[in-house]
C-alpha cells in the first residue's frame, strides 16, 4: 500500500473506464441523449418562465416548481438511460458464444466490474454537471435553497449508481439474451416506480427545505430522526450495491475460482453488523419489534442464498482445493465459506438458526408473536427440505446436467407444490377462496395463509418430518463432501513458481525486414 502511494506518478485509470468513456463520447446514443436532455430542460424552463411572465401574481415558489420539473426529467433520463447503456454494452460483451476478449486479459473480475461501475458513475456525473447550471438557476427564481438542490442531486446520484450496479448484475447473469431482456424490462418498471417514489420524496424535501428537515427549524429531535432515516436508507442501498458488486464479480469469475468465498464472507459480515445495529436500536428504544426488519431481511436474503448454494458444483476445482487450510479449525471455517453445496447449506443453516435464536430471545416478552415464529420456523424447514430434495433429484436423475439445475429444481418444486393442488381443485370445479387457506401440507406459501395455530403447527411437523427424511437420504452425500474437503495431497505435483509479473518488453520493429 505504502509502495503504491509512493508510486503515485504511475497511477493510471482503470483500463475499462478509459475504453468505455472513449467509446461513450463517440457514441451517438450518449451524445444524442445528452443533447435531447439539455433541449428538454431548456424548453421546459423556457415554457415555465414565460408562463409565469404572463401571470400578474408574483409566484414565490417559481424556483421550486421549475426545479421539480427539472428533477423529474433528470431522474427519468439518468435513472433509465445510464443503467440501460452500461447494462446493454456489458451484456453484449458477455454473450456466451462471442465472449469479448477483454475477459481473458490479466484484468481481474474485480477491476472489470469496478471499471463498468465507474463508467456509469462518470456518465452520471456528465449528465448531472450538464444540468447543474439549470438547477442552480432555479435558486435565483426563489422557492428553493441551494443546500436542498445539492442534497437532492447527491441522493439522486447515489440512486443512479445503485441502478447502474443492478444493470451490471443483470448483464452478468448466465442466462439467455431473451431472459436478460425480460429482466431488463422488469428492471425498467421497477426503476420507474423508484423514480416516482424519489420524486415524491424530493417534493417533500423541497416543501420544507433540507435545512429545516435536518433540524434548522424543527429542532434537535427532528434532526436526529431525519439523519438516522437517511443514514439507514443510504446504508441499506450501499449494502445492496456492494452485494450486487460481489455477485457480479462471482458471475464473471471462472467456474474453477473460489466464487463463493467473498460473497459468503460479505453476507456474514453485513448480517453481523446489521444484527448488532438492530440490537443496539432495540436496547435504546426498548421496542423489541425493531429486531424484525433485520430478521425478515436475513430470512429473505438467505432464502435466495439457499437457491444459489445448492447450485454449487460438488467437485471442487484444484485451485480451490489448494487453498483449503490443513489445520482442522481453519478447514471447518473454510468448509462453510468455500465453494460447495454442502458447506453452503451448513452456512445458511447456521446464520438462520442464529438469527432465529436472537429474534426469539428479543421477542421473548411478546407471546403474541409465537404464531409468526412457528410459521417462520415451518417456512425455513420447508426451504431446507425443498433444497435437499432438489439436490437428491439432481444427483440421482440428472447428475450429468449442470449443478445449477438443482437450484432451478428447488424453485420449481416449491412453485409446483403450491400450484398443483389448486390446479386440481380448479379442474374439479372446487377451487374457492376457502381452499387457499385450508391446510395444504408441504406448500411453503400455505404456511402463511393457513388459518389457526394448529395448522401452522401441522406445517411445522410436516416440514420437520420431510426435512428429517431428506437429511437421512442426503447424509451419505454430505459426509462424502465433508471427507473430500481436504487440501490437495502432498504427493500431487505442485504448481511451479509463477513467472515474474513484470510487463513484457515491446516487440522490436520488423516491418522494414
Amino acid at each position: 500500500m505504502v509502495q503504491r502511494l509512493r508510486n503515485w506518478r504511475e497511477w493510471e485509470l482503470n483500463p475499462i473506464v478509459v475504453k468505455e468513456l472513449r467509446q461513450a463520447v463517440r457514441s451517438w446514443s450518449v451524445t444524442g441523449m445528452l443533447l435531447l436532455f439539455l433541449s428538454v430542460l431548456f424548453c421546459t424552463g423556457l415554457v415555465m418562465i414565460l408562463g409565469h411572465a404572463l401571470d400578474v401574481h408574483a409566484n414565490q415558489r417559481l424556483g421550486a416548481n421549475v426545479f421539480q420539473a427539472f428533477i423529474v426529467i433528470l431522474t427519468f433520463s439518468s435513472l433509465v438511460f445510464i443503467p440501460l447503456y452500461v447494462g446493454t454494452r456489458l451484456a453484449a460483451e458477455r454473450q456466451e458464444n462471442n465472449l469479448d476478449l477483454l475477459y481473458i486479459t490479466t484484468l481481474t473480475p474485480h477491476r472489470i466490474i469496478r471499471g463498468k461501475f465507474f463508467c456509469g458513475a462518470y456518465m452520471a456525473v456528465l449528465f448531472f454537471s450538464a444540468c447543474m447550471p439549470f438547477m442552480a438557476f432555479t435558486n435565483l427564481l426563489r422557492g428553493i435553497d441551494l443546500p436542498t438542490v445539492g442534497f437532492i442531486l447527491v441522493c439522486l446520484f447515489l440512486v443512479v449508481c445503485a441502478a447502474v450496479q443492478c444493470a451490471i448484475f443483470i448483464a452478468c447473469l448466465p442466462v439467455s439474451k431473451l431472459f436478460k431482456i425480460l429482466l431488463g424490462l422488469g428492471g425498467f418498471i421497477v426503476l420507474n416506480m423508484v423514480s416516482g417514489m424519489l420524486n415524491a420524496i424530493f417534493y417533500t424535501l423541497m416543501q420544507s427545505g433540507i435545512v429545516s428537515m435536518s433540524g434548522g427549524v424543527a429542532g434537535v429531535h427532528a434532526s436526529s430522526t431525519f439523519w438516522t432515516g437517511f443514514a439507514t436508507a443510504a446504508g441499506v442501498i450501499l449494502a445492496v450495491v456492494v452485494l450486487l458488486y460481489y455477485m457480479s464479480v462471482a458471475l464473471i469469475s471462472p467456474p474453477s475460482a473460489n466464487r463463493a468465498f467473498a460473497l459468503r464472507v460479505y453476507i456474514t459480515v453485513v448480517w453481523l453488523l446489521s444484527g448488532i445495529l438492530s440490537l443496539y436500536r432495540v436496547s435504546i428504544s426498548s421496542n423489541s419489534e425493531l429486531i424484525l426488519p433485520w430478521a425478515i431481511t436475513t430470512f429473505f436474503l438467505l432464502s435466495g442464498a439457499l437457491v444459489v448454494v445448492i447450485s454449487n458444483n460438488d467437485e471442487l476445482s484444484v485451485r480451490v482445493r489448494r487453498r483449503i487450510p490443513s489445520r482442522a479449525f481453519l478447514r471447518i471455517l473454510a468448509f462453510l465459506f468455500y465453494n460447495g453445496a454442502a458447506g453452503g447449506l451448513v452456512w445458511v443453516a447456521l446464520l438462520l438458526s442464529l438469527t432465529a435464536m436472537v429474534t426469539m430471545v428479543v421477542l421473548d416478552s411478546r407471546p403474541s408473536g409465537w404464531r409468526e415464529l412457528a410459521a417462520g420456523a415451518a417456512t425455513v424447514l420447508y426451504l431446507f427440505a425443498y433444497a435437499l430434495t432438489a439436490l437428491l433429484i439432481h444427483r440421482k436423475f440428472f447428475s450429468r446436467r449442470p449443478a445449477k439445475l438443482a437450484g432451478i429444481l428447488m424453485v420449481f418444486l416449491a412453485g409446483a407444490w403450491a400450484l398443483l393442488p389448486n390446479m386440481v381443485l380448479f379442474f374439479l370445479g372446487r377451487l374457492t377462496t376457502h381452499s387457499f387457506d385450508t391446510l395444504q401440507p408441504g406448500s411453503i406459501f400455505n404456511v402463511w395463509l393457513a388459518r389457526g395455530f394448529d395448522s401452522v403447527l401441522l406445517h411445522l411437523n410436516c416440514g420437520a418430518a420431510w426435512l428429517l427424511l431428506m437429511l437421512v437420504l442426503n447424509a451419505r452425500w454430505f459426509l462424502r463432501q465433508l471427507n473430500h474437503f481436504q487440501p490437495v495431497e502432498a504427493g500431487a505435483p505442485a504448481a511451479q513458481p509463477p513467472p515474474a509479473p513484470a510487463p513484457p518488453p515491446p516487440l522490436p520493429t520488423v516491418a522494414a525486414e
Binding site: T105, T106, R319, P501, P505, L507, T509, E513
Partner: protein, 311 residues
Amino acid sequence: MKVQVRNLRKEFGKTVAVDGITFSFDSGHVFGFVGPNGAGKTTTMRIIATIEEPTDGDVLLNGISLREHPELARRAVGYVPDSLPAHADITVHEYLDFYARAYGLRGRKRTEAVSAIEEFTNVTGIRDKHLKALSKGMKQRVSLGRALVHDPDVLILDEPAAGLDPRARVELRELLALLAERKKAILISSHILTELTEICNGVVIIEKGRLLETGTIDEVLKKSAPRRTVAIRLLDPAQSSELLKELLLTPLVENARPVGSEVHFEFAGSEPEACDLLGQLVARRFRILEFRQTRADLEDIFMSVTKGGVQ
C-alpha cells in the same frame, strides 16, 4: 515455452467436444491444428486461451497448470479468434492501447509497445480508423496485433486465413514466419492445408474430439503415408517399356505405370533403398534424366486419416 495439452476433455451437456486429446509443441514451432468442421479445434483453442474451462485434463505452459493459474497463463498466451469482436466507436490505436493497458503495460512502456506492434503488423497507416471500417484482412492484422501486444510466448490462431485475399494470406504467412523466428510457440488452425504445409513444422489432426495424429510433419508423413511416388524421366522414351518390365521385377515397387513421357510407381522402401534402386537402374544402362520422388502432402494424410465425421 513448452505447451503440453494433457488428456483434455470438454463436455457441453451430453456432447463431448474434446475427448481426451494429448499433444505438445514448443517455442519456435508452428503447429497446424486440422480436423473437419465440428472436430473440436476451436474448443481446444478456447481452452488454451482460457475462455473455456476443461471438463477434465489440463494444459501446461512450461509446467504451469492453466486450470490452476489461468491468470498466469493469460500473460503467456495470445489468442486470435476467427473474427474480431465488433467493437464500434473505437479506433485501431485505441483498441490496441486498451489491450496494452489491460495487460498491465503502463506509461511509456505501453506507448512503445503499441507503436512497435502497429509497425510490426503494418497497421500504422490505419491506426486512427474505426474498427468497423476495416477490411477483413486489416481486422485480422489488428487481431494479431491485439494478441501480440503483451509479447506472449504462445500464440493461438483460430482460422486466421479464413476470408483473406491471396495477398493478405501471403502477408499473414510472412508474419507467422517472423514470429516463429522469434521463438513463439504457435498453434494455428486452418482448412487450407496446402498453406499449413508451407508454414508448419508440426501438425495435430483431430476428428470428433479425438486425436488422430500428431508430431512433426515428417513424422506424421512417415507414419501415415510410408509410401512415396517416384517419377522417372528417361532421355530416350523408347526405354520406357523396358524400364516398366524391370520395375515390375523389383521388390518394394508397386503400381508402375507410364504417365506421359515418364514412368511413375509406388515405392515402399526407405530413402537409402530408393538411392540403391536408382544406382541399380543406372547400372542396367537406363539413361535417366530425372529421378523424382514425391511424398503425400498434408491434404493426402488428412483425407486418409479422417472420415469426415462431425459431432
